[in-house]
């Protein structure tokens, strides 16, 4: 699926990344997976309510891409953004607390699962409107250009956003003005129950770069190193003033669209095939090949489990927002 060149770059990054960096990437992928598993459990127990979209299966995309950025770069995401937010460095405690609707949550309980935001970390938000984050990314890029700053923006969106006008409007402008934005399309083949074949006229989504005169590549989104290597290139391109870049990361969500979707539109066989490409298991195998011991990785797993337990405890014990502050944040407070 991915081109030979992308595979080659991925192999190279396995050699150029330090052991600590590789372990960190592994840790983050495991953290996201276990976090999402725990969210599902808390949802079933009624601790988390509302509309909740999990990222399990797609970890390699967020982790690979965000690893390739600098800390000060900006990230824009969608409503399926727990993974991106954690990968950008948000505290699992405060993300979990947000899902619980608590005052200690990253968005102080106002936004919930779909509206995580951490200004300090330059995580510029999940957003529940499909395609709605793309124009925002252009605006962030414009501001960076305006102030002549060295940062870039990394904007994640789903295959489902491509039919929205906002996608086309944004790519045109970003290309025209050479805005420093890396667009990452998470192609998981479905927008809710609709296959991309029934929604988009072009199945190779990276080809949407061509009419907008920008580079586009497709990568294996189940391979964290491939996503990483492609984003390194794309980020350098954007940072050096050459304008935007489109990466299509081919991936798969292991669960339904949201907690209330049994995903009956997919076959068990299809799900199994993708489970076999589990990005975490795959990365783990490669790390072991690179002589990182299984014991080291097991130790990471255990540490992550403890961190998630701690996050749940924190969220559970945190207070609800105070109802006297119900109109707070609508405007800048005097």
């Amino acid at each position: 699926m991915a081109l030979e060149r992308e595979k080659h770059l991925a192999e190279r990054s396995l050699l150029t990344l330090t052991e600590t960096e590789l372990q960190d990437m592994y840790r983050m992928m495991v953290l996201i997976r276990r976090f999402e598993d725990k969210v599902a459990e808390m949802y079933m127990r009624g601790k988390i309510t509302g509309f909740c979209h999990l990222y399990a299966g797609e970890e390699a995309v967020a982790v690979g891409a965000i690893r390739a950025l600098y800390d000060k770069d900006y990230v824009v995401s969608t409503y399926r953004e727990h993974g991106h937010c954690l990968a950008k460095g948000a505290s699992p405690k405060r993300v979990m607390a947000e899902l619980f609707g608590k005052a200690t949550g990253v968005s102080r309980g106002r936004g919930g699962s779909m509206h995580l935001f951490d200004a300090e970390l330059r995580f510029m938000g999940g957003y529940a409107i499909v395609g709605g984050g793309l124009p925002l990314a252009a605006g962030l890029g414009l501001s960076i250009q305006y102030k002549e700053e060295p940062e870039i923006v990394c904007c994640f969106f789903g295959d489902g956003a491509i039919p929205q006008g906002a996608f086309h409007e944004t790519l045109n402008l970003a290309s025209l003005w050479k805005l420093p934005v890396v667009f990452i399309c998470e192609n998981n083949f479905y927008g809710m129950g609709t296959l991309t074949q029934r929604a988009i006229c072009q199945q190779e989504l990276y080809r949407f770069a061509q009419p907008y005169n920008i580079p586009g590549v497709r990568v294996d989104g189940m391979d964290v190193l491939e996503v990483y290597a492609a984003t390194v290139e794309a980020a350098a391109h954007a940072r050096e003033g050459h304008g935007p870049y489109l990466i299509e990361a081919v991936t798969y969500r292991f669960r339904g669209h949201s907690m209330s979707d049994p995903a009956e539109y997919r076959s068990k066989r299809e799900e199994r095939i993708w489970q076999e490409r589990d990005p975490i298991k795959r990365f783990r195998r490669r790390l072991i090949e690179r002589r990182i011991s299984a014991a080291t990785l097991d130790q990471i797993d255990r540490e992550v489990d403890a961190e998630i337990e701690e996050a749940v405890r924190f969220a559970d014990e945190s207070p609800d927002p105070d109802v006297s502050e119900v109109t707070k944040y609508v405007y800048v407070d005097a």
């Binding site: 309510t49 509302g50 509309f51 609707g101 608590k102 005052a103 968005s107 309980g109 106002r110 936004g111 919930g112 699962s113 779909m114 509206h115 529940a128 409107i129 499909v130 395609g131 489902g160 956003a161 491509i162 039919p163 929205q164 006008g165 927008g191 809710m192 129950g193 609709t194 029934r198 929604a199 988009i200 539109y265 609800d320 927002p321 109802v323 119900v326 109109t327 609508v330």
Partner: protein
Amino acid sequence: MEVTYVKAINMALFEEMRRDENVFVMGEDVAELGGAFKVTEGLLEEFGPDRVIDTPIAESLIVGAGVGAAVMGLRPVVEMQFADFISCAFDQIVNMAATFRYRHGGQVSCPLVIRAPAGAGVHGALFHSQNPEAWFTRVPGLKVVAPATAYDAKGLLKSAIRDDDPVIYFEHKRLYRSIKEDIPEGDFLVPIGIAETKREGRDLSVITYGGCLHYALDAARIVEKEDGLSVEVLDLRTLLPLDREAILATAKKTGKVVIAHEDRLTGGIGGEVAAIIAEHAFDYLDGPIVRVGMADTHNPFSPPLEEFVLPNTDKIVAAIRRLAAY
């Protein structure tokens, strides 16, 4: 026959599609999935993919293409998966659809129906909870309905589909499976533009619609039992055009009016209803017009905050008592 609100909407679609082959349904996940809320379930099986059409995620296009089909004489029923996303189609609704007939001197009409699941109380946070009706009730050329019962849901959708002008049909998603009632078999219509008294009373009127109707009816029962008050409940059903006659009749009858809706207070329908009463029934009033609605804030995710900002039975009871004591 006892049916839920969601079933009533579904039945109206079936019956209208059988009656008129120009009626078709279009929207995100409406066909194979049967809709995010299963409102369009079964339609694909009976009517096939030419008349039950899954679209890409593109609200502006869904409405705009609906307008195009409507002016060609078809009768599209398009779905916004959540009413909150209707804002993505705003231009096509208020500029394209609403003005179509007027701006061409009446040459062609635009018989389009836009269905939009609205309403809070499902912890949907900012963009899965809104009640955006008031954005549209000041746009001439549109009609806006918001049924609160299974009977009205069915009858109003049928009327909307047969109407020659664009109609926005707001269905309250909290009601889909929470209410059930006996409705007659077969074809019946509920006329657009006509409110209905859902409960007769003498002392005070509650004027309401949509999700709040049920709170208002509960509140009326509570104050009857606990305070001996006789409360009339008027269900507007149609928000554009408003049934001024019915509004004035109940205001004149009881002299005390509470207006309740789930939409925000500022700029909500309640303001228009209050203005109609103040202008044309001032002499009949025995107290100030009292409004109950959502606080002027966004729909918060936090469940306690959400509960705090939304109207409910208790808040309507309190408003009734305050006004009754005036």
